[in-house]
C-alpha cells in the first residue's frame, strides 16, 4: 500500500509535467541559454572558458532548478490535493518524497544529461565532463530536496518567490562549492574523490530529512 501510493504520486506528477511541458522545459531552456551565452560573451579564449566552466554550469543548474521549485507544491495547495495527501493513511513524508523525486526527474535529470553537451562549448576534457555529470547527479537531488523544504515553508506566503530565494540560496552554497570544486579539481589534475564524497555525504541526510521537514512545513501551511 505504501509503495503503491508513493509511485502513484510520482507517476501523477510526471504525467502532469508531460501534459504541461512548457513549465518543465522553461527551466531546462534557461539552463541551456545561460550556458550557451557565456562562451559567446567571453570569446574563444580556451583557457578562460575551461577555468570558468565549472562555476558557470553549476550556477546555471542551480538557478534553473530554483525556477521550478516554486511550483513544487503550489498547484496541489490550490486545488486541494495537498489536503488529501495530508489525510492519507500513508505517511505524508513518503508522499512528499515522491513529489520531490518527480520534481528531480523533470527539472534535475535533464540538466545532468545536458551538462556534458554544454560542457563541450567550454573545451572541457572527457574526464572533466564525466566528473561534471557525476557531481550534478549527486548535487541536483540535493537542490530538489533542500529546495523542497524552502518551497514548503514559503507555501501560501505573499511574495513567497523572493523569500524562497533568500531562504534556499545560502543553503545551496556548499553544494555549489563542492560540485564546481570537483570539476575544477579534475581540470587541475587533482583527485575528485573528496569532493564527490562530500556531495554524497550531503545527499544522504537530505534524502532522509528533506521529505520529513517538508511534510512538517506543509502541515503548518495547511493549518
Amino acid at each position: 500500500m505504501i509503495w503503491q501510493a508513493f509511485w502513484a504520486v510520482a507517476q501523477r506528477d510526471l504525467l502532469l509535467a508531460w501534459r504541461r511541458k512548457s513549465e518543465g522545459l522553461s527551466a531546462v531552456f534557461f539552463f541551456v541559454v545561460v550556458a550557451a551565452l557565456f562562451p559567446l560573451g567571453i570569446g574563444p579564449e580556451m583557457n578562460v572558458l575551461r577555468n570558468i566552466a565549472p562555476g558557470v554550469l553549476w550556477v546555471g543548474a542551480l538557478l534553473s532548478s530554483m525556477l521550478a521549485l516554486q511550483r513544487l507544491f503550489e498547484a496541489d495547495y490550490r486545488d486541494g490535493t495537498l489536503e488529501q495527501m495530508a489525510l492519507s493513511p500513508v505517511a505524508m513524508p513518503l508522499l512528499v518524497g515522491a513529489k520531490m523525486l518527480a520534481h528531480w526527474l523533470v527539472s534535475g535529470l535533464p540538466l545532468v544529461l545536458l551538462a556534458p553537451v554544454l560542457g563541450l562549448q567550454f573545451d572541457l576534457s572527457g574526464d572533466a565532463l564525466v566528473t561534471l555529470t557525476l557531481a550534478l547527479l549527486l548535487g541536483t537531488p540535493i537542490l530538489s530536496l533542500v529546495g523542497g523544504v524552502g518551497a514548503a515553508l514559503t507555501l501560501g506566503v505573499r511574495g513567497g518567490g523572493v523569500l524562497l530565494s533568500l531562504l534556499v540560496l545560502p543553503l545551496f552554497v556548499p553544494v555549489l562549492v563542492f560540485g564546481a570544486g570537483a570539476v575544477e579539481a579534475q581540470v587541475s589534475g587533482l583527485g575528485v574523490q573528496a569532493h564527490l564524497s562530500i556531495l554524497m555525504a550531503m545527499l544522504l541526510p537530505a534524502v532522509f530529512f528533506g521529505p520529513l521537514a517538508s511534510a512538517f512545513a506543509l502541515r503548518i501551511a495547511l493549518e
Binding site: 501510493a5 501523477r12 486545488d79 486541494g80 489536503e83 492519507s88 493513511p89
Partner: protein
C-alpha cells in the same frame, strides 16, 4: 464512533462559535448548519485533523486524535473521506485518471472498470477521457462525487456537497448519501439548503441538524 467534545475555534483572537459537542455513530447522518462565516468549514477541518482546535478534543472510538496516538490517527484516516471546497482534482488529468490516482494515494486499489462505472452513474461516461479543464464546474463536482461512490471510507465529511449540481445530479447525490448511511456509514456535511431527509429505494434516512452558534 466519532465524538466531538467542547471544540472551539479562534480566528484573529475572536472565537467563531460557542464550544460544541456531539457524536456521530454508524448509520447516522448529521447536517452542520450555521450562517456564513460561523466556522462550519473550520470545524470540519478540525475534525479531519487539518487544523488544530483551540480547545476541546476529537475522539475516534473513544481515543483522542492527537500526535501522541499516531496509531489512532492512522486508523481514523483510513476510514475518512473528506471533500472540501477545493475538489482535489487535477485539471490536466481526465476524470478516470483523477479517480484512479486518488484511490492509490489514499492507499486503496480501484480497477479501471469500477472507476468507469462510477463515472457512468454520474453521467460522465462520455467525458471520462477528456481533460478536466474542459468540463463545466458541475461536471467537475460530479467527478468528485464519483470518487465518493468508490471510496471504501466509512466516515464521509463533506463541505457543501450540494453546490453547483443540477436536479438530476442532486437526486443522484442524495441517493448516494442515503445508501452510504443505510449501509452503516457515517455522514457529516454542511449545507445552506434544508436537508431533513435523504431517500433511497423508497427508504428515508433522517438527517439530524447540528447548529453552530456564533460566539
Amino acid at each position: 464512533m466519532l465524538t466531538i467534545s467542547n471544540i472551539s475555534c479562534v480566528r484573529g483572537h475572536k472565537p467563531l462559535f460557542t464550544p460544541l459537542s456531539f457524536s456521530l455513530q454508524a448509520g447516522q447522518a448529521l447536517h452542520l448548519e450555521g450562517d456564513n462565516g460561523v466556522g462550519k468549514t473550520s470545524l470540519l477541518r478540525i475534525i479531519c485533523g487539518l487544523s488544530p482546535a483551540d480547545s476541546g478534543e476529537v475522539l475516534w472510538n473513544g481515543h483522542a486524535l492527537t500526535r501522541q496516538h499516531p496509531e489512532v490517527v492512522e486508523a481514523f484516516r483510513a476510514t475518512l473521506c473528506y471533500m472540501g471546497h477545493n475538489l482535489s482534482l487535477k485539471e490536466d488529468l481526465t476524470p478516470i485518471e483523477n479517480l484512479l490516482f486518488e484511490a492509490q494515494v489514499a492507499g486503496r486499489s480501484l480497477s479501471h472498470e469500477k472507476g468507469m462505472d462510477a463515472l457512468r452513474k454520474m453521467g460522465l461516461n462520455s467525458r471520462a477521457h477528456l481533460p478536466l479543464r474542459v468540463l463545466s464546474q458541475g461536471q467537475k463536482r460530479r467527478t468528485a462525487l464519483a470518487r465518493l461512490s468508490v471510496t471504501a471510507a466509512k466516515l464521509w465529511v463533506l463541505d457543501e456537497p450540494f453546490v453547483a449540481l443540477d436536479a438530476h445530479s442532486l437526486d443522484n447525490l442524495r441517493a448516494l448519501l442515503a445508501n452510504h448511511v443505510q449501509q452503516g456509514g457515517m455522514l457529516l456535511f454542511t449545507s445552506h439548503q434544508a436537508v431533513e431527509l435523504l431517500q433511497t429505494n423508497g427508504h428515508a434516512i433522517e438527517v439530524q441538524p447540528i447548529r453552530l452558534v456564533a460566539a
